[in-house]
Amino acid sequence: MKTLCKTAVTPVVVAALAAFAFSGIALAGWEPKKPVDFVIMAGKGGGADKMARLMQSVIEKHKLASKPFIPINKPGGSGAEALVHLKQKAGDDHTIMVTLNSFYTTPLRQPGLGVDVMTFTPIGRMAEDTFLLWVNKDSGINNINDFVKAAKSAGNKWIMAGTGKGQEDQLLTSFLNKAYGLDMKYVPFKGGGRVAKELAGKHANSTVNNPSEQLGFYEAGNTVPLAAFTPDRLPLFKDAPTFRELGKDFVYFMQRSVVGAPGMSKEAEDYYRDVFKKVYQTEEWQGYMTKKSLQGEFLTGDDLKAYWKREKDNHQKMLKDIGEI
């Protein structure tokens, strides 16, 4: 009798437990089962790193995720190390990454890595960072005509400082050289902050920094923005015309997106998309975007993939133009 009772009861308990567990899942959806690896494809202290840590802080402050997001910097080889890492994590639901434009350029320049970024899981585009052309205030240059005149007469003695070879800053430099018939010399430094300082210290003649990198020097009156690589004038720098206004149809952005490992499960993809959508909507993130002159709507899913495809083709063309691939 006793055993019979036990055998009869057990399935009921199991069924009840299962139903309970199932309803729990149905309510909350997929959730990470362990801390999430939050890979940053740049070094500590750089623009991408600051943004990743801001996202992490916002997630913790508003308790947007049940498990912590652990930032891991993999700066090696202009993001090559991070891209390969993510590729090897195919099918993993607990590895996501913050990307920038080396997401396009590094695989194009190093086909040996075997990385196809279109296979990565699109989670969310958090912002697009903008670029401006900067000179030192003491140079006396106030507009693009003065700039072209000065750079032309200096020839290849005109120093354009930038971050890294074959990346954003060099692409913009080569655009300027081509568009205005200049011969500026591109000198790579490590990190946008360092580049900004080279201009303020007059070791370089011009830069194409993001607003966040030059803001401190700009506010102190050390540096001047001459023109913006955006479709419309930036609210923070109303006096700087766009290159479009100046008759050169050229626009360039730096993406700040979050991607997942290739082959991530649909449930996990949905979960991360919701987390980062909430991050995007927070007061902190919106405030940061305004303050640092960031633009861009939140993009996800197929829209984000289409955006990647467009940008990737665009970069392929630009890299070919400067002979990097």
């Binding site: 202290g45 390969v84 290849n156 120093i159």
Partner: protein, 503 residues
């Protein structure tokens, strides 16, 4: 007087109960983080950054700065007690700290390290208080050519470090330079020496990986072999009397401490350098100016005092470009800078005007952090000494595990663990063949800085080497480096001359 007013306001902020509590907690935590091999101030500050959202920005930076400071004190502990550098900033401390511990002078080494850190910290905060804005201009004037000149000076101070065997010293420097070339070359954008795209080599060979391998694993293998398992470390004891004696003999190292503090502070101010090159340079200079250079590396307290005062001074110094220029002077301040962005503060020239409370609260709390780090450190010395009383058969496996964990933690990559083991065996063999190891460590720290800045300067000057000698700041530094390079040769000639004259 205006500065004094600001400072008083700063102290009022630093002594608010919440901020004072954060300073004490931060110092204690930093001490522990610094003492754990592999966990340095960079990791500590990065891990705790999100926590600081809970307190106001001023409290947050005070907390993180206290950790940074505490870690500088803590790094010396495992360098001295275990022979493994607790943080990259404390590598130079192992050169003489470890031999002192083996001779039963661990207490003296620890007290020297703590006092030197305290004096270095204090001198640098005073310099910071008085001269922050003019020194920011100096940092701004430092371009690629100046940076290269400074690196040459650093190499020059290390010429004598390897002892008398010049070919072996050169070999050690060159092997270090080769290791430092691994990874992405930022000038050409191409990966170098990555052995067919092994992903782990793309981030280069981390300096700490080499240091832990050589000093942790290699040193332990050497000890096991040379003692045949029967290790006799002279027992250190701590009594109040000994501590007083230690403090009394400390005045012999005073010259090194003051030199280390000032040098460390200035190196810290310069972008890209930071506390690690600062402490290594201070060690080299201390040896050069010492009356007993031959005793360095064999347990000279000056060899502990100079790098320890320098790394604390440099950590204060590196906050200067962070606050005034918005560029980090060290990897740790790079993270602090990220923190300031999160708190909505804009680093740069305007910070001192627009956010006085934040800046002076931070400066005042550095004074406070210094006092508490010293007190906490000294209070724990008996506990650290106890570690040395453990039987070697217990201690050796613990050191081994700490080395592995310390190598894995920063990058979370098994690749680095294998490298540590390889470097350990190579370090042991080099030690057995009497190759000096310190020059290799120096080369891997300074190599990338020197190479990049040289190539940037040459790009700017169209390939003219004269740029290093013509510029107003780099010229004198280069000249000083040249003199230091030639000094050993002149000395050799002079000795030859003397001995001939005597016979």
């Amino acid at each position: 007087m205006e500065i004094l007013d600001h400072l008083m306001q700063g102290f009022a902020i630093a002594f608010q109960p919440l901020n004072l509590g954060l300073v004490i907690f931060g110092c204690a935590l930093g001490l522990f983080i610094g003492a754990m091999p592999g966990l340095g101030s960079v990791n500590g500050v990065a891990i705790l950054l999100p926590m600081t959202f809970l307190v106001p920005p001023t409290g947050a930076i005070i907390f993180l700065a206290a950790i940074y400071y505490g870690a500088m004190y803590g790094g010396a502990i495992s360098s001295i007690m275990l022979g493994i550098p607790g943080a990259s900033t404390a590598v130079a401390t192992t050169f003489d700290g470890r031999p002192m511990a083996l001779q039963g002078l661990a207490d003296k080494a620890l007290i020297t390290a703590a006092t030197a850190s305290f004096i270095g910290g204090t001198i640098s905060v005073i310099l910071f208080t008085l001269f922050a804005p003019p020194l920011a201009a100096v940092a701004l004037a430092f371009g690629a050519a100046e940076e290269f000149a400074l690196m040459m000076l650093a190499f020059a101070t290390f010429i004598g470090l390897g002892g008398d065997d010049i070919p072996k010293t050169l070999f050690s420097i060159f092997i270090g330079l080769v290791f430092s070339a691994v990874g992405l070359d930022i000038i050409s954008g191409q990966p170098r020496l990555v052995f067919g795209d092994i992903p782990g080599f793309l981030h280069g060979i981390n300096f700490l990986v080499l240091a832990i391998g050589i000093y942790g694993i290699g040193e332990m293998l050497w000890t096991i072999e040379s003692s045949k398992g029967d290790v006799k470390i002279s027992q250190a004891t701590v009594t109040v009397r000994r501590i007083i004696d230690d403090l009394r003999t400390l005045k012999d190292t005073f010259k090194s401490i003051v030199m280390g503090s000032i040098l460390g502070y200035f190196v810290g101010i310069l972008p890209a350098a930071g506390a690690t090159p600062g402490s290594l340079m201070a060690y080299g200079v201390a040896k050069t100016i010492s009356k007993h250079p031959e005793s360095f590396g064999k347990g000279n307290p000056e060899g502990v005092a100079a790098p320890e005062s320098a790394n604390n001074a440099a950590s204060t110094g590196s906050m200067l470009p962070m606050l005034t220029l918005g560029i980090p002077g060290s990897p740790t301040t790079a993270i602090l800078l990220g923190g300031m962005v999160i708190w909505g503060l804009e680093p740069g020239p305007m910070l001192f005007i627009e956010h006085q409370e934040f800046v002076w609260g931070l400066i005042a709390s550095l004074y406070v952090a210094n006092v508490f780090s010293l007190l906490i450190n000294v209070a724990f010395i008996p506990a650290f000494i106890w570690v040395l009383r453990l039987p070697f058969t217990v201690l050796a496996p613990i050191i081994f595990v700490l080395c592995i964990v310390g190598g894995y933690a920063p990058t979370q990559d098994m690749h680095d663990v294998w490298l540590i083991l390889i470097f350990g065996v190579v370090g042991y063999l080099m030690r057995k063949l009497e190759y000096p190891l310190a020059p290799a460590v120096l080369a891997i720290v300074l190599g990338p800085l020197a190479e990049t800045s040289m190539r940037q300067a040459l790009l700017i000057s169209n390939g003219s080497f004269l740029t290093f000698f013509e510029r107003p700041i780099s010229g004198p530094i280069m000249a000083a480096a040249m003199v230091l390079f030639l000094l050993p040769i002149l000395k050799l000639v002079k000795d030859k001359f003397w001995s001939r004259a005597a016979t």
